[in-house]
């Protein structure tokens, strides 16, 4: 197995060393913060948000002219027509699709063609189990359980250069998600402030221990422990350059005080710290709306409101980096066309996703959503999957991160793209 832990390893040094000379000192300075480490600059960053629980794509982005949908959802259907009693109307995107009113924050981005939507996206495997569908989507192999790696881990491996830091692939979760399983380095960090040697209530003791550990790991005979130890202490120093706890977002942005808001805020911090982040992952929960999912208000409205507000806070906070960042959402499947007996929707097939970035072919609802008459539905009940999720994921990764080998990124995939990215 070839290790890609290149940071400060001879291979990595050689790579950065071309034409620079005196590398160890240069790196040491960079790490010590005396010189701004410009070697990480101009990396593209792909941020993925997994909406766990299966978002109702038909409520997020509603084909509001569809009479079948209206009939199938007597108490959930919304229209774009203004003045309907009590309800806020949908935001009419193109005369056929309407954005949920709680996602108003997205509208300007869509109009500016920076936000693209893919509808009818999903997996070729028709499982309606959360676990299996998430597993397949994250491994990127919809018919193979035993795939050891996740697609984001493979993406990291395909970036074409050694990791510039331990923060090349970061998940803002407490443990590594399936998407990041694999042999390329990836870190799960729930809270940046915790990334340190700590001893509760004993700062001095922790500092001393930290020094001891650094020495011990520097001298150990195991390369793995030695190199990772060095990475770790260098990473601590990188993070210490900024006051992680008292972060002030730019442009007067206020992140929603939610799990997703907190995750995206920390991703923004890592991007601004310039620590070499290229692939980031965050999660959003609560999408499994079997019971009273609501319409313009209620649980679904709160969820999409949080999603859109968090993403826009992130985007505006990163105004200086917008060319470098693309954000993509994903969810394991969609929900039934018809509402169920408890004012919610059950597990279905296709959903929709959102892609935000300057290189996105935005202002469009991509994909195919046929009229929702029964014979057009998958198994007579669900929005049919017309776009393979791998098509969209690989296009975003290919264009934004410059990945070329789709056969490694998504084995057994035919590689067809639908044009969600420009260029």
């Amino acid at each position: 197995m070839v290790s890609r832990r290149g940071f400060l390893k001879s291979g990595g040094l050689a790579l950065f060393g071309i034409g620079l000379g005196g590398i160890p000192g240069f790196l040491a300075d960079a790490v010590a913060g005396t010189v701004t480490p410009s070697l990480f600059k101009k990396k593209k960053i792909m941020v993925c948000i997994f909406q766990r629980g299966a978002m109702d794509g038909l409520m997020a982005v509603t084909p509001f002219t569809d009479k079948f949908l209206k009939a199938a959802r007597p108490s959930l259907f919304m229209t774009a027509a203004k003045g309907a009693a009590n309800d806020k109307p949908l935001i009419d995107l193109d005369g056929r699709f309407g954005l949920h009113p709680a996602m108003a924050a997205f509208e300007p981005m869509f109009r500016e063609k920076r936000l693209g939507i893919v509808h009818g996206i999903g997996s070729p495997n028709n499982t309606r189990s959360h676990f299996d569908a998430q597993d397949f989507m994250e491994s990127g192999t919809p018919f193979k359980k035993g795939t050891t790696s996740g697609w984001l881990n493979r993406a990291v491996g395909l970036l074409g250069h050694e990791a510039a830091s331990p923060f090349q692939g970061v998940s803002l979760t407490s443990s590594l998600p399936r998407s990041f399983y694999g042999e390329n380095p990836a870190v799960a960090i729930k809270n940046l402030a915790d990334f340190n040697i700590q001893l509760r209530g004993n700062v001095a003791g922790a500092k001393m221990a930290s020094k001891s550990f650094e020495d011990l790991y520097d001298q150990t005979s195991s390369d793995l422990l030695k190199n990772t130890g060095k990475e770790s202490f260098d990473a601590i120093k990188m993070l210490q350059k900024t006051d992680v706890k008292n972060y002030k977002p730019e442009n007067n942005v206020v992140y929603p005080a939610t799990a997703l808001g907190n995750s995206l805020k920390q991703i923004a911090q890592l991007i601004k710290m310039d620590v070499g982040l290229e692939v980031a992952f965050a999660e959003s929960g609560g999408w499994d709306t079997h019971f009273n999912q609501g319409k313009d208000t209620g649980v679904f409205a709160r969820n999409v409101n949080d999603l859109s507000n968090c993403m826009m806070a992130f985007w505006n906070d990163l105004s200086r980096y917008q060319d470098d960042v693309t954000v993509m959402t994903m969810t394991e499947f969609g929900r039934t066309v018809a509402q169920n007996g408890t004012g919610g929707t059950d597990h279905g097939r296709a959903s929709c996703n959102f892609i935000l970035g300057n290189a996105v072919n935005g202002g469009l609802v991509h994909g195919v959503v046929n009229p929702l008459s029964k014979d057009n539905l998958e198994d007579g009940r669900d929005l049919a999957v017309t776009t393979d999720f791998r098509s969209v994921f690989s296009e975003v990764a290919d264009v934004h991160l410059g990945i070329e080998n789709d056969k490694v990124l998504f084995p057994d995939f035919d590689g067809k793209k639908i044009g969600v990215m420009r260029g």
Partner: protein
């Protein structure tokens, strides 16, 4: 009559004698076969004992190397393979966890899953279906809590918690350490995960009844037990896989030779065959075949990914295993549809029609594809029923590729991350000749020079679970709240029982050691030694028979040896010495300790100096060169609970690179 009785006695005595003899022969055989070439590898008996303990326990306890040396290495390993040591103390600790012995049915009855509880609460009139959620989840939660209380249901999290706790207590305290190690190994090999809710309730019984009793026996039995377990049947979806069942007479009709038939008979037959084919076609359209288990049983459980099977073999094997599903469990638990079949038919008819009800396993003949299949070139004739599934698994268990694949996996676990093929070949040969006897494969491994070579000693990286357990064992910690350790293990990168993929956790150092997880290993060492992990108590002084080390340096040497017996610790000690000799060290530590225990110490500072547990250090050895106030607090506090230099030293040892290896 009398003669009969006498005969009976004679037979009985002979029978008992035969059993005794056979068990004697078996054990003697194992002991005979054990011949571990550690001396040839240049190891002392103590070093070899330390290596054995590092591989087949969750870490040596202080003094254990000497114990094993005294007992004899072969004898110790033999006892571990028998796994019959008395675990009274452990069982005492486990007795407060009432649910860890629950059957799957009891779990279904007492710990129903959330969605089901909600449905029942509506059914029983506690909740109106329109009032569900509606933005007031707190209200709903309260009602559900009341409902569960009234009905005596308990939250599933409580079962999980007990389950995690038992795992940690067993690893820390069981006398049958190797059995626990192998339980962990095989669980990971046949991984199931709590994140899949469909199988989650059955995971505790899976580990207890399916894995643990079979860890040293025949691989075939283990494979079969997992294949028939509710946890595996649900985790890899075989429980929902179904095929087309064509009645035998129809199958015969389709294969019938036309010769000798009249034109009329022929026409009739063709008409019938056409109809059957149409029926099969219709049923196929309804779907039902699920290949997940069939694929993984070959790729991950037996042959290995390069084991020489094709996609067609997967599909055919999936067809063989159709109808293998879960028996009805509990009063209102899983498998209501099967309950109807079982109750309607009754035991005799059930058996006559080819159904099999075996504990929690149910073979539903109606869902079985009874056509002919060919897997790996072996033909399974039509109408094979349940037995063909067993035959398939036996074939897989004894396959050459399996012998290699399993041997390699065992060697990776116990030798190093890239074991030599010479060793794997030997083990595979034993696997084949012993028909997959796991103990025999292990014995071949330890009898091989490769097991004792330089490339094996201390070459494995501890998983976070192993790190935590070895730390606890080497410090003789008292665990009152095992879950605290579970959380730390999670933080260090191993969320036990939640590895989503059927591959199980990878078994290599590269996987365990990364930036974030390594820092948490160091933090774990510090937290444990300074008693910052609630419910995990230490007595560092008692470890050294309450003898105080003469200096900080002496403490470092003494405790390094206690915690990591039979290792070359020169480097570790050499590296840490300057830190300990830091002229300002004493002040720093004293200050830190004061900050910590300022309140506690405020009243008895004067007393402390004379405390029984504290002995003044010999100053000349300390080289505290700052000359001022060197004796301000010249002690190593040895009390349990105190945050002192000793705790700091021990914390650094636990977090040191050397302790991450085994």
């Amino acid at each position: 009559m009398k003669g009969n009785i006498r005969n009976f006695y004679v037979t009985a005595i002979l029978f008992c004698f035969a059993i005794l003899l056979s068990s004697f022969v078996r054990v003697a055989g194992v002991a005979d076969k054990l011949a571990m070439p550690y001396k040839k590898a240049g190891l002392t008996t103590e070093q070899a004992a330390a290596h054995l303990l590092s591989r087949f326990t969750y870490g040596a306890q202080p003094g254990q190397v000497e114990e094993v040396t005294k007992m004899g290495l072969e004898k110790w390993l033999k006892k571990q393979l028998e796994a019959k040591a008395d675990d009274e103390q452990l069982n005492q600790m486990l007795s407060k966890y009432d649910a860890i012995g629950f059957s799957n049915s009891q779990v279904e009855d007492d710990f129903p899953q959330g969605p089901r509880v909600r449905r029942w609460a509506v059914r029983d009139g506690y909740l109106h279906k329109d009032s569900l959620s509606n933005g007031n989840s707190k209200y709903q939660r309260e009602i559900l809590q009341t409902y569960m209380k009234d009905k005596g249901y308990r939250p599933l999290q409580e079962l999980y918690r007990q389950f995690f706790n038992q795992k940690i207590l067993r690893a820390a305290y069981s006398e049958n350490q190797f059995k626990e190690i192998m339980t962990d190994f095989w669980f990971n090999h046949f991984n199931v995960a709590l994140n899949k809710t469909q199988c989650a309730s059955f995971v505790p019984a899976y580990e207890r009844d399916v894995i643990r009793p079979n860890v040293f026996g025949s691989f075939e039995n283990l494979l079969l037990a997992t294949a028939k377990s509710p946890a595996m049947l649900m985790y890899l979806d075989n429980s929902s896989s179904s095929g087309v069942n064509v009645p035998m007479e129809d199958q015969e009709m389709m294969g019938m030779n036309d010769m000798g038939m009249s034109a009329q008979q022929k026409a009739k037959k063709n008409e019938r065959v056409k109809k059957i084919k149409q029926q099969i076609q219709n049923k196929k359209k309804q779907g039902g075949l699920n290949e997940n288990y069939a694929r993984e049983v070959m790729e991950l459980h037996t042959l290995g990914v390069d084991g020489g099977y094709t996609q067609n073999d997967v599909t055919q094997a999936a067809r063989v295993l159709t109808g293998w599903t879960v028996a009805p469990l509990g009063k209102e638990g899983y498998g209501a549809a099967n309950r109807n079949i079982i109750e309607r038919l009754g035991a005799n008819a059930l058996r006559d029609k080819g159904f099999v009800l075996d504990g929690d396993f149910f073979f539903n003949a109606n869902r079985h594809d009874n056509g002919e299949k060919v897997v790996l070139g072996k033909k399974f004739p039509a109408g094979g029923g349940y037995e063909e599934g067993e035959a398939l698994l036996k074939m897989l268990a004894q396959h050459q590729s399996t012998a290699k694949f399993i041997s390699k996996k065992i060697a990776v676990r116990f030798v190093n991350d890239t074991p030599p093929s010479s060793l794997i070949d030997k083990m595979a040969k034993t696997f084949t000749s012993s028909k997959g006897d796991i103990s025999s494969v292990i014995i071949t491994m330890v009898n091989s020079p490769e097991f004792w070579s330089e490339q094996a000693l201390r070459e494995k990286t501890k998983s976070p679970f192993e790190l935590a357990m070895s730390a606890v064992r080497s410090l003789k910690a008292e665990i009152d709240q095992p879950f605290q350790l579970y959380s730390w293990i999670n933080r260090m990168g191993q969320q036990m029982y939640y590895y989503q993929a059927p591959t199980g956790f990878p078994d290599n150092g590269q996987y365990w050691i990364n930036t974030g997880s390594l820092l948490n290993r160091m933090n774990f060492g510090l937290a444990l030694a300074s008693q910052r992990i609630p419910g995990v108590k230490l007595n560092l002084a008692a470890l050294n028979s309450n003898r105080e080390p003469e200096s900080v340096e002496a403490a470092l040497v003494t405790y390094s040896k206690l915690i990591m017996p039979e290792r070359d610790l020169g480097k570790t000690v050499a590296r840490l010495k300057p830190m300990l000799n830091d002229p300002n060290l004493q002040q720093k530590v004293a200050k830190a300790a004061d900050q910590n225990s300022a309140k506690k110490d405020a009243n008895n500072k004067g007393m402390e100096m004379q405390s029984m547990n504290e002995v003044p250090l010999k100053e000349e050895k300390l080289k505290f060169g700052n000359g001022k106030k060197a004796n301000e607090n010249p002690t190593i506090k040895m009390q349990a609970g105190s945050n002192t230099m000793l705790a700091q030293v021990v914390g650094v040892i636990i977090g040191s690179p050397e302790f991450q290896r085994k």
